[in-house]
């Protein structure tokens, strides 16, 4: 099967352009397999994983000012577990789920990014 070679010759301007993968791949849509180039965004997409309710991640980056829990402490859903200095404000970081704290992974004064693991529930 002869693959058509484009006469337009346009991905010419951006040398080292990452707009498409270097080789054609197979893409299955509606039961049919298409030969096509992928985009870097498509190739690097994060596959879906079911979130683990025992793990508490940070939603915003910031500096840990005060930790209100330690291993063994029982918390209810909505309890504040730590206070973080973020975006020029003091933020109460709450836990969506209740349970007993198994481990805390941050320390006072630490600067953490978004989606950083803060604590784990049993």
């Amino acid at each position: 099967m002869k693959i058509h070679v484009s006469k337009t010759n346009v991905f010419r301007k951006m040398k080292g352009s990452k707009i498409k993968s270097s080789v054609m791949k197979n893409m299955v849509l509606g039961g049919r397999q298409y030969k096509t180039f992928f985009t870097p965004k498509f190739e690097n997409r994060k596959p879906f994983t079911v979130p683990d309710p025992h793990l508490i991640y940070s939603a915003i980056p910031g500096k840990i000012m005060k930790i209100l829990v330690k291993p063994g402490k029982k918390i209810r859903p909505g309890d504040t577990i730590l206070i973080m200095d973020s975006m020029k404000m003091m933020n109460n970081i709450i836990s969506l789920h209740g349970g007993i704290i198994k481990d805390v992974f941050v320390t006072k004064g630490e600067i953490i990014p978004k989606k950083h693991l803060i604590a784990e529930l049993e």
């Binding site: 346009v10 951006m14 707009i19 049919r32 985009t39």
Partner: protein
């Protein structure tokens, strides 16, 4: 002792010469060291020779805080004026990085809003060359007031006159909203920098290290964010691109783009040899475009972003038209979040400026995936439907190959009031592809068969013969005619001729609520 007028004229020339120095020789050398031209050189290069007239040369700032009264800022850091491009008048402003870093103060903004008001009143394009360090902090809230006045006018003029932003330096913080509100953004490799919060703030708040170039350089905005529409490697190339773009556009929304002398497409693009027989194999849709436009000249917009959708300007028989096409070469030509945004905005641009829209269809549907759904492909996909439905310019559609399900409807089908819908014999207009359809409709027959695989292949073949063609849609009048590929250009020329005086009205309303 009365000074003769001749002396006063000499004094004027002396004053002009002084102000034209801008920030002085040192600052000009620094600008060149960064690989950037000065503001004045840029204007002279872009506009027709000897056509530039400058205004507000002697405007001065009036701030008195922070020792500002001791500082002389020539022209307050911006050059405004009118001139011609391609012989027709344009308004232009260029920020002068050599004067206080091109920072925006109150009078600086006043100059810009003056020329913006001018372009709106007189109905001519506005070109803004951005090269500024941002708000002049010494002027405080007055700088913010300046920006606000500019953004409001950008919106007021949106859809009335073409507004072009050329980013030839930093354009950060609030300042970057002006280009975002304009029609087309031009960036130049290694020179343009656009971001809301810069690397220093990101370092402080997030602890992340990122360079200006990686955060908001020309390539980032051309490939990843879609904020830039045209990418050039040098400033000169950028100016050529601007002139090329303006040749396709009307000077304001009350006019149509100027017609040029019709030319045939170049012979090297043979329309019958581009699309493969097997629908699983791709081709570059731009080759198809080049086989039908005058002189095979196609100006692509946002070439490097959402490449599974191709948009741009071409001419059919001298008339400027806009193209919206699926690109089977990338991601099989599916519609997704980014490509929907790309298409929808371009459709509305063409509609605002009386540019007919030609849609070439070949897509298997929408891109599946949780990441697409979470990103809101529902909202974004709806933008295309909205844009096509609301557009009142002549809308022509050519269905080249696949047009399945929602994708068929979205790509300017008859139902969204396309004026003419043509289909090639290779078109497959169906609710879904034969493989998928057969699996669902004939599930029982396949499951109960002695040889399920053979039954499946047979059912796929049956469905393909019965439905994967343009004739079912043709029998309902959903398409206007099935045409041979070689007839495409001829028919598009005729369709554009008969649609030239199209006149329809929409229900009375202030405006609809598109899924922003």
């Amino acid at each position: 002792m009365i000074m003769p007028v001749s002396n006063k004229i000499l004094e004027l020339k002396k004053k002009r010469k002084e102000v034209i120095k801008g920030g002085g020789e040192q600052a000009v050398l620094k600008q060149a060291a960064m690989g950037k031209l000065t503001a004045r050189t840029r204007i002279i290069s872009l506009l027709d020779e000897n056509s530039f007239n400058e205004y507000d040369l002697f405007v001065e700032h009036d701030s008195r805080d922070f020792d500002m009264e001791k500082k002389t800022l020539h022209g307050d850091g911006v050059i405004i004026g009118t001139g011609t491009i391609l012989g027709k008048p344009v308004c232009i402003f260029a920020q002068d990085f050599t004067v206080a870093g091109g920072s925006l103060g109150f009078m600086h903004a006043r100059k810009i809003t003056k020329i913006m008001d001018h372009s709106l009143k007189m109905g001519m394009p506005l070109i803004g060359i951005n090269d500024s360090g941002g708000a002049r902090i010494q002027e405080g809230v007055n700088s913010l007031a300046g920006y606000g006045e500019i953004f409001f006018r950008n919106t007021l003029a949106s859809g009335v006159i073409p507004q072009i932003s050329v980013i030839l330096g930093p354009c950060a913080g609030g300042a970057v909203y002006s280009p975002a509100l304009t029609d087309f953004v031009f960036v130049v490799d290694k020179i343009s920098k656009m971001f809301i919060t810069g690397p220093e703030v990101i370092k402080t708040v997030l602890g992340e290290e990122i360079s200006m170039e990686d955060l908001g350089g020309a390539r980032v905005h051309s490939e990843i964010t879609g904020n830039a529409h045209f990418f050039a490697e040098t400033e000169e190339e950028c100016f050529d691109q601007i002139k090329n773009l303006l040749s396709f556009l009307p000077w304001n929304n009350m006019e149509k783009a100027e017609k040029t002398r019709p030319k045939a497409p170049k012979r090297m693009y043979k329309i019958t040899q581009i699309v493969p027989d097997d629908p699983r194999y791709p081709y570059d849709v731009r080759d198809v475009i080049r086989s039908i436009v005058d002189d095979s000249e196609f100006l692509e917009v946002q070439e490097f972003w959402a490449a599974n959708m191709v948009i741009g300007f071409g001419r059919i028989n001298g008339e400027s038209v806009g193209f919206v096409c699926n690109q089977p070469l990338i991601l099989a030509g599916v519609l997704d979040v980014d490509s929907s945004d790309k298409a929808a905005r371009f459709i509305r641009y063409c509609d605002a400026f009386n540019i007919p829209i030609i849609t070439l269809v070949d897509l298997p549907g929408y891109l599946p995936g949780a990441d697409q759904e979470y990103a809101g492909v529902i909202r974004h996909g709806a933008k295309v439907l909205y844009a096509y439905s609301e557009a009142t310019v002549p809308k022509l559609t050519v269905i080249i190959r696949k047009a399945y399900g929602g994708g068929y409807i979205a790509m300017n089908s008859r139902h969204l009031r396309a004026d003419f819908v043509f289909a090639w014999p290779s078109a497959e207009i169906a609710v879904m592809g034969p493989e998928g359809a057969a699996n669902i409709i004939f599930r029982k027959e396949i499951a109960n068969a002695v040889d399920p695989e053979k039954m499946r292949r047979q059912k796929v073949k049956e469905y393909k013969e019965k439905f994967a063609n343009p004739y079912v849609a043709a029998s309902r009048g959903y398409i206007d005619s099935v045409i041979a590929p070689s007839e495409t250009r001829k028919l598009l020329i005729h369709a554009l001729e008969v649609s030239a005086r199209k006149n329809i009205s929409m229900p009375r309303k202030k405006h609809g609520i598109p899924p922003f």
